[in-house]
Assembly symmetry: C2
Homo-oligomer: 118 residues x 2
């Protein structure tokens, strides 16, 4: 465990949510200003491997990291791009029954968020 990795984990614990690598770099720099971009890119896949983050990919093909690691679905706003976690046991159940339990899947629905609806 290095200072850099601790900085990345700390800032994500402080601000749970959905972030691109660039956003995590910006957040973590507040914790550890000398941090290099390459370290963020090196570290993120390691944290995913360790089960401390999950990686999701948006419809416009940018990678986003999610501090919620248990399997769940997402609602993505087609207007502002905001991600929201969505938990629908019924969907998990059907996917489990159809493909086998513990088969990893990603599900995202497109839904305009509250803010953009106004």
């Amino acid at each position: 465990m290095t200072r850099q990795r601790i900085a990345i984990l700390t800032c994500l614990t402080k601000h749970p949510g959905h972030y691109t690598a660039a956003e995590i770099f910006a957040l973590a720099k507040d914790e550890y200003p000398a941090l290099s971009r390459a370290t963020v890119y090196n570290t993120l896949p390691i944290l995913v491997e360790e089960g401390k983050l999950s990686k999701i990919v948006s419809d416009d093909a940018t990678a986003v990291y999610d501090t919620t690691v248990i399997t769940h679905a997402h609602a993505v706003c087609p207007v502002c791009g905001k991600w929201e976690d969505v938990f629908v046991p019924e969907v998990s159940r059907v996917i489990g029954e159809t493909f086998g339990d513990d088969v990893p899947y990603t599900l995202s629905i497109q839904r305009i968020c509250k803010k953009c609806k106004k």
Copy 2:
């Protein structure tokens, strides 16, 4: 309708499947050798808009175009990256009931393909 667009559509009709922009460029060049890369990148979103292709995004964040346009799920092989179409009415039904009919969604499961299983 230009010769270039016809070339792109023709090669995709001849070889239905799942392709990156680079792969479509290579295929379409056989139909129309003077084709430019930029034309492929211009044309693909238009074909998606027209409902002639659908766009999906892999877990490693590369865009892939699918000649099957009706809403369906995908099985992606984590070993070789191959895409397969998967139709599971039960899943569509639950998603429809939960989020409303006609809400667009993308669902992909990770499953090792037949070839890689051996």
